[in-house]
């Protein structure tokens, strides 16, 4: 599944998509997943955890690196994708669909608008040093 188009992006490469239910789904971008080859382990946050924007909410281990992923907005973790750690290839195969990581109930849904839209995120990625 490609990005739906209504995702917003953090500069740290997480995407967040508002859902009709009022929660927001969070994952990491295809660009970020591609950079992390050979994933071996993932640690998810606990449901019910309160998080601040920019706070680390979990870790992904690849053969060469451990990377944090961050909450794009403040809120409460209301659901985690418990199937993901056992099937890490899903992150690369479907980063905007089955590779979602957590669902957050934002404290203030309006804060999503302060994140990057797809075109701004694309420009950020293209500006990364080579």
């Amino acid at each position: 599944m490609a990005a739906a188009g209504n995702e917003r992006f953090a500069k740290t490469h997480e995407w967040i998509r508002p859902e009709p239910s009022g929660v927001a789904t969070v994952g990491i971008s295809a660009y970020a997943v591609e950079a992390l080859t050979d994933l071996v382990f993932m640690q998810l946050p606990a449901v019910g955890k309160r998080v601040q924007a920019g706070e680390s909410i979990g870790e992904i281990e690849s053969v060469k690196a451990v990377s944090d992923f961050y909450a794009p907005v403040a809120g409460e973790i209301v659901e985690v994708n418990t199937a993901l750690p056992g099937k890490l290839e899903t992150l690369a195969a479907d980063p905007y669909g089955a590779g979602w990581i957590v669902r957050i109930k934002p404290d203030d849904p309006a804060t999503l608008a302060g994140l990057l839209d797809a075109s701004a995120y694309d420009a950020l990625v293209k500006s990364q040093p080579h």
Binding site: V40, F41, S67, P129
Partner: protein
């Protein structure tokens, strides 16, 4: 005169405890982000110490008699456990905006290729291993694994073999503002732990001459790393942490906590 981003600042730090070294590596990352430039430090360990990969189980470490007497610290990075004390350890931190931070490989490649070049200058035939497939059943010790790019050295008088001794392994922690990569160049097999936890080192593959001037090796290694990044090396007279003792103490306390060590 180069701009500040064109420099690689380097330090030689004293031997210290595991918790101190991990705290210092974390601080090195923060300092690289603050200064906006790459920083590298070389350091030792004040006793034979086991550093666990970030996700390894403490119970696994405690079940191995060969390392039962050694202090254990958990690294912020991943990979397998290392037995320190007869190695030369480095940490290289780069700010997120640097080309080396874009993905794990560029930094890994720069450091490991640089060591191969230094060893070649010393007559040691070393190369980067293609890697063995990673799996949850990987061996406990880093030096029993082979990740793509690990530096291995041929046994004296023998050609390259798939099981050539690994002499350098590295791992990264990728933070929001910086990436820190640390790694261990194994100099000799470590007599401070039991035989089951020992691995052959550089001296065992004909690199004994390197041990005569470790600082010279570190300086040559740093020079090659810097050349790969188009950087100019400046060795600093005092540790990067001078004047930041309170910050170091705070990080040190976290690495000493059972909550961190026993997180898995």
């Amino acid at each position: 005169m180069g701009m500040i981003g064109d420099l690689l600042l380097a330090w030689w730090d004293d031997a210290a405890s595991g918790a101190h070294n991990m705290a210092a590596d974390e601080m090195l990352a923060a300092e690289a982000a603050r200064r906006g430039q790459p920083l590298i430090r070389f350091y030792g360990w004040d006793s034979p110490t086991v550093s666990l990969g970030g996700f390894q189980a403490i119970a696994a470490a405690r079940s191995i008699p060969a390392i039962a007497a050694a202090p254990v610290v958990r690294r912020p990075s991943g990979g397998g456990a290392l037995v320190h004390g007869t190695d030369l350890t480095y940490a290289l931190a780069v700010p997120r905006g640097h080309a080396w931070a874009r993905s794990p490989l560029p930094l890994y490649d720069a450091v490991h290729e640089a060591l191969v070049a230094v060893l070649d200058e010393h007559g040691v035939v070393a190369r980067r291993h293609p890697g063995w497939p990673a799996s949850p059943a990987d061996p406990f010790f880093c030096f029993s694994r082979r990740a793509s790019g690990d530096v291995v050295a041929a046994r004296p008088g023998q050609g390259a073999a798939d099981d050539d001794p690994k002499i350098l392994g590295s791992a990264q922690r990728r933070l929001a503002a910086a990436v820190v990569q640390h790694g261990s160049l194994l100099l000799t097999s470590n007599p401070g732990v039991g035989a089951a936890a020992r691995h052959p080192g550089l001296a065992d593959v004909g690199g004994g001459v390197c041990l005569e001037s470790l600082r010279g090796v570190a300086e040559a290694w740093t020079r090659h790393i810097a050349a790969a990044g188009g950087l100019r090396v400046i060795w600093q007279p005092a540790t990067f942490a001078a004047g930041r003792e309170a910050e170091l103490a705070s990080a040190l306390a976290r690495y000493r906590e059972a909550r961190w060590l026993e997180r898995r």
